[in-house]
């Protein structure tokens, strides 16, 4: 650790290990181009973060529009076309612009090399290209919005998508580009994990979030190209009428669904695996206890990645897929539930006899366990063939995937964001507002979506602009829940934004974690570490002790922390 400099810029109490006002990656160079053309993974991660949060805001507003429209049967705000475009926009933005790049490209980009003790990802230029491809894809999404919107649903099912008059081609082009952005991130992460670990870090010394990001990257690399070709075929279908998917031209509409879900089911694991990785970190760090069953959790991530490829047909049980395939996919589908269950049990065992702090990231992690349990268990209903036939395309499915995607991924994303925020910015957020946001989102989310399980089991179909009066009460509750959730997000945004203005300065290790990112300063220097970081078991917290003067954790063996 370098010798402390005198405080600059009138910063308040600056704990050791905090580099605000000194040299760090944020001020290593200045000017717009130093960001736009940066090769530093940390800056790219931050740019991603700002971008995907903007996308999240857009998708969230679309969601609020949808929920508000549904507060009463019939027309509330706009007509059916408007509603259809709103839910399509909500789905497409949230899936392709927010949740898929969310954890890997934003948080992952920032922490992955730090976790490995590396200076950067293996291909920094590719990383930057990935970011700008994302921007490019987002621009296409905006173009499609500006040229009349899209009303196909995020799944782009043919033949509706090849016959509707709305702007399908721009948004599909956008998603095509976003696919390459995702591939580049995945490719980069695999190579980085393989090649840039420190010499003494074996595969089983990696933090579990690395296993999760690595498994995610495998899916990104192997599945996303199929999405690319699917979308290319869809564009060709519309532009040239090639007749692969459109029955009117001699094609096969169900084949499109095979193509689409061959990517989009593994993509579900692109969304949830990194979230599980973050939860493994949070549970261990905030219990100050070694993660339970490291090997099982690590292998279960890889297992989920691989099983994820052989279950896509469960999205097609009522689609006209043959009975034979329905049976095969139904049997294979249950295989995914085993590794997911393993993780839940291991997390609970980690909590046992821990020293459980109620800091904001941990509150998010604990709500993840409960929400993901509901999401996972309701998946069992949908895996059972005969029950799925009844529940398919109803609100039960909507609720199920929101419990996994929102209750799982978004919650873990927020947990990770609060967890690494001090490392990224060098500032602590206010715990009060942080905890309030976690509570509000938990309550609002359950109000919004638990009621939709009931709604779905009553037979309410999804993507309905209007509905039968008997469903009205449930929709009202759901809409109110959506607004409470939105309030929770506003509180979270407030908490993080205020921390930048008047947050306390963060120490190097506010939480007592032992993965390598906590071994460097907050924020880290341009090349991440001063000297070669020393890696050991990332879940052995015995070397760190709480220091009141630092308001964080310091190494026990450090002679003087200055």
């Amino acid at each position: 650790m370098s010798t402390p400099e005198t405080k600059r810029g009138g910063l308040p109490h600056q704990p050791p290990g905090n580099t605000l006002g000194k040299e760090n990656y944020l001020n290593a160079s200045r000017g717009f181009l130093s960001w736009a053309l940066t090769l530093d993974h940390k800056r790219i991660g931050l740019m991603y973060l700002v971008s995907i949060l903007t996308a999240f805001l857009g998708g969230g507003l679309a969601a609020l529009y949808v929920r508000t429209e549904l507060i009463a049967p019939g027309q509330t705000l706009g007509d059916a076309d408007m509603y259809n475009q709103a839910f399509t926009l909500h789905g497409a933005i949230m899936v392709f612009l927010f949740i898929i790049p969310g954890i890997p490209a934003a948080l992952g980009n920032f922490v992955l090399p730090l976790l490995l003790g590396a200076k950067d990802v293996a291909f920094p230029r590719l990383n930057l290209a990935s970011y700008w491809l994302w921007v490019c894809g987002a621009i296409f999404a905006v173009i499609s919005l500006a040229t009349g919107g899209v009303d196909t649903g995020w799944t782009f099912y043919t033949p509706y998508s090849s016959s509707t008059t709305t702007s399908v081609i721009p948004i599909v082009t956008g998603v095509f580009i976003l696919g390459f952005s995702s591939i580049f991130t995945g490719l980069n992460f695999i190579v980085t994990t393989h090649k840039l670990r420190p010499k003494n870090m074996g595969w089983f010394n990696m933090p579990l979030v690395m296993w999760a990001l690595y498994s995610t990257a495998i899916i990104q690399v192997l599945a996303t190209p199929v999405l690319a070709i699917t979308l290319l075929l869809l564009i060709a279908e519309r532009a040239m009428g090639i007749g692969i998917f459109d029955p009117a031209l001699g094609g096969d509409a169900v084949l499109f669904q095979h193509f689409f879900w061959f990517y989009s089911h593994p993509a579900v694991y692109i969304m949830i695996l990194p979230a599980m990785g973050i939860i493994s970190e949070l549970i261990a760090v905030f219990s100050r206890k070694h993660i339970f069953g490291y090997t099982f959790i690590a292998y279960s991530s890889v297992a989920i990645a691989i099983f994820g490829f052989i279950v896509w047909g469960h999205h097609m049980f009522t689609s006209g897929q043959s009975d034979l395939l329905n049976m095969i996919f139904a049997a294979l589908t249950f295989s995914v539930s085993i590794p997911s269950a393993i993780k839940i049990w291991n997390w609970l065992a980690t909590l046992y006899k821990g020293s459980i702090s109620w800091d904001t990231p941990m509150l998010y992690a604990l709500s993840f366990i409960i929400l993901f349990t509901i999401g996972g268990l309701t998946g069992l209903f949908l895996g059972m063939l005969a029950v799925d036939v009844f529940l398919h395309d109803t609100y039960f499915v909507v609720a199920h995937f929101h419990y996994v995607m929102f209750g799982g991924t978004v919650i873990a994303f927020l947990g990770g964001l609060f967890y690494w925020w001090p490392k990224m910015t060098g500032r602590m957020y206010s715990e009060t507002s942080g905890r309030l946001s976690a509570a509000l989102i938990f309550i609002g989310f359950n109000l919004t979506f638990f009621i939709q399980f009931i709604l779905g089991s009553q037979g309410m179909p999804r993507r309905y602009f209007d509905y039968l009066p008997r469903y009205e009460f449930y929709h009202q509750v759901s809409t109110i829940g959506a607004y409470i959730t939105a309030l929770g997000f506003m509180v979270a945004a407030y908490s993080l934004a205020m921390s930048l203005v008047r947050g306390k300065l963060a120490p190097a290790n506010p939480w007592g974690g032992n993965s390598l990112e906590w071994h460097t300063t907050s924020p880290p220097p341009l090349h991440n570490f001063e000297g070669e970081p020393r890696s050991d078991d990332p879940y052995d917290y015995g070397d760190w002790k709480w220091d009141d003067s630092v308001e964080g954790f310091v190494r026990k063996d450090a002679e003087a922390t200055a």
């Binding site: 033949p159 016959s163 096969d252 169900v254 095979h258 490829f309 006209g320 043959s322 395939l325």
Partner: protein
């Protein structure tokens, strides 16, 4: 293969006779695959023969032109798993579409909706 202790990269050079020999075999196989089309092996055997030849050709290119025999084994793992996933995709899709073929309506053309 191409590693050394001090981290300096030492390339593996493929002997010229291997490269030219591989090309010769590839050309012969190309001739063969065209030639066998004039024989009828019955049912789908012609397709099988054509694919076997293509796989041999592809394997030669991958192993020698692309250095995979001398490369790190993990690169082989990547390539083979990519092929395996393609195979999985094709087999399951074929299995399904083959099953529901009888329900197809011959000569169907859509009656409503147009493409802009």
């Amino acid at each position: 293969m191409a590693s050394s202790t001090d981290g300096k990269h030492v390339p593996h050079v493929v002997p010229l006779w291997i490269l030219i020999g591989v090309l010769a075999i590839l050309l012969i196989l190309t001739w063969a695959t065209v030639a066998v089309t004039s024989f009828d092996f019955g049912s789908n055997m012609n397709l099988v023969v054509a694919m076997v030849i293509a796989v041999i050709k592809a394997a030669l290119v991958v192993m020698f032109f692309m250095h995979l025999v001398w490369d790190r084994p993990f690169n082989t793992v990547i390539f083979v798993s990519a092929l395996a996933f393609v195979g999985l995709f094709i087999i399951l899709a074929l299995l399904d579409t083959g099953q529901y073929q009888p329900t197809m309506i011959p000569g169907y053309t859509a009656a409503g909706g147009v493409v802009p």
